[in-house]
Subunit: 345 residues, 2 copies
Amino acid sequence: MATIRDVAKAAGVSIATVSRVFNNSALVTRETAERVWRVANDLDYWPNSAAMSLTTNRTRTLGVLLPDLYGEFFSEIIRGIDDRARRDGYQILVSGFHDDPGRVLEIARSMLGRVDGLMMLVPDESIDVVAKVRRRLPVVLLNPREEQNHCSSVRLDNRGGSLGMIQHLVGMGHRDIAIVTGPQTNVDADERLLGYREALLAAGLKPDPTREIAGDFREFSGFKAAEELLALAPRPTAVFATNDNMAVGLISALTAAGVQVGEDMAVTGFDDITIARYLRPALTTVHVDAFAMGRAGAELLLTEVQSEEEVEPSHVVMPAELVIRESCGADASQAQDGQGRSAAG
Amino acid sequence: MATIRDVAKAAGVSIATVSRVFNNSALVTRETAERVWRVANDLDYWPNSAAMSLTTNRTRTLGVLLPDLYGEFFSEIIRGIDDRARRDGYQILVSGFHDDPGRVLEIARSMLGRVDGLMMLVPDESIDVVAKVRRRLPVVLLNPREEQNHCSSVRLDNRGGSLGMIQHLVGMGHRDIAIVTGPQTNVDADERLLGYREALLAAGLKPDPTREIAGDFREFSGFKAAEELLALAPRPTAVFATNDNMAVGLISALTAAGVQVGEDMAVTGFDDITIARYLRPALTTVHVDAFAMGRAGAELLLTEVQSEEEVEPSHVVMPAELVIRESCGADASQAQDGQGRSAAG
DNA sequence: TTGTATGCGTTATCAT
DNA sequence: ATGATAACGCATACAA
């Protein structure tokens, strides 16, 4: 295929001129430019991006490193990033490390020279990798366990979401509220659990370890949790599943056991996945706007990438809004809109 | 940051040796190699991928160009591609052209030099762009309207899916089956409609234009279709929505109108989106395995990318399997597995 | 086994 | 306004 040299030769100019034409430099006569364009078109010349990157040290690409490319959450994050990035003409290079933290370093390295900045959603143990990346590229962290003062971050207000949910349940009269937790190593799971305990204390209730049922964020663990729950005496009147997947399993198990969810027992979730509103009863949960998170992250990263001087890292916290539907026993019609969403308490 | 030259100098060797060490060449003494590794580590040297790409003409990256990054379908395609690609150590560079075919050329060009091959799901009108890309890179087409003999492709058996669905409905005794179509320009929509007509004819029934209600694949168009449907006299006993989104709208509108879906009227969809099994009644539909499509496409692309000589384009057709649940009025328990899936007829 | 030198396809700095 | 030429950071053919 034709290179810039071929075009230059065929147009009877130097490669410098061709380069200028393709970069819309003003320092070139209209006639020359037109001739070059025509020749380039005839030769079907496409500039090589790798070569451009090498000289300019810019790629107009944002790297995205996620645990996985699976599921609504990550998919929406990607879409949010892409949405914001393309407005500035940036592309995205995505990669998942698939639960293998060892791959984080490897992938980050392979992105060097191919991206102008990197957005990462990685476990704590990869913090040293983050530091290394940070030395060469702007980095934005997604949901880090704690704010890293050297890079910007976007975090989800898990704690606030839990607080709002428990406050709502307490407000409905519940005094014995169980929780189904997520994986111990998971930041979100951890924060949601802490928010739950905190909310109980704030309401004058005492967190009780027997009310904390272990789950792993997967549907089946919610299913299993139902059994443990029903064995408790006295039986809790409400269960807060720390994610919707588990709430789904919980509801089907409880329903199968003859428990009327919403009436006999309140069940709530966290995430507001698509199916939440299609469940029967429709699931009361906490809405997480992954799209907005991705967009916010891209916003931060782009300003760093496009700025000449160092920018102060900033930390944005995404709100987690309570969405009242039926599974908590509330009358869903009291909510403000058709989807039953209301502001967190 | 350190370059290969810095490492060479600090280790007291030439850059060629450093390069050999990083490429695991056997032509280097163990001691030299160890010294280079140590020095490289001390200097925190990371090779620049753009420079590597430029010299080797390889990127170990697959480009993915989709209409959008939104929704389950594309998300699953991406995951399928990624799943297969990373097995061979490839990354993926994804981009959406967001319903702007003009951007297809632009994006494809920007990928040159950054990917070893390109997977595209583009409209017919971009066929000339495909040809241009094809001259420089291996290309795999996703769901092209017709097989392009110059590049490999992965297509969905829309026609077969429709046939299976209509056969099933006919088998249940329905003789007046309406359809809600998709956007006219959409390949899938088109093929699903043709399959419907064909199946009717094969069953000795006559396609009737008044039974073909226009939709646009969005939930609301299914909602609106209900009105048209109920106005028909005689009223069809079954409706085949050409995608699940519209089926969702259809079911809620019909239910609101007092029609018992599954009993008074059979409603079926196409795609088998996640919520299909959570609907009440659970949706009978045609399962589309987007993950498998992505994986199959990546498989084809990788063989082309990694092969020395030209490979013959191959065309794979992904099956679309009938999933019998409740909305068609069938007893879902007759299906073979818990999810109610059965082979297409 | 290691080093030298050239090239990959651009952009950018000088000249002219 | 245009051209020569030196980078950019690496891989590799060839020499030693």
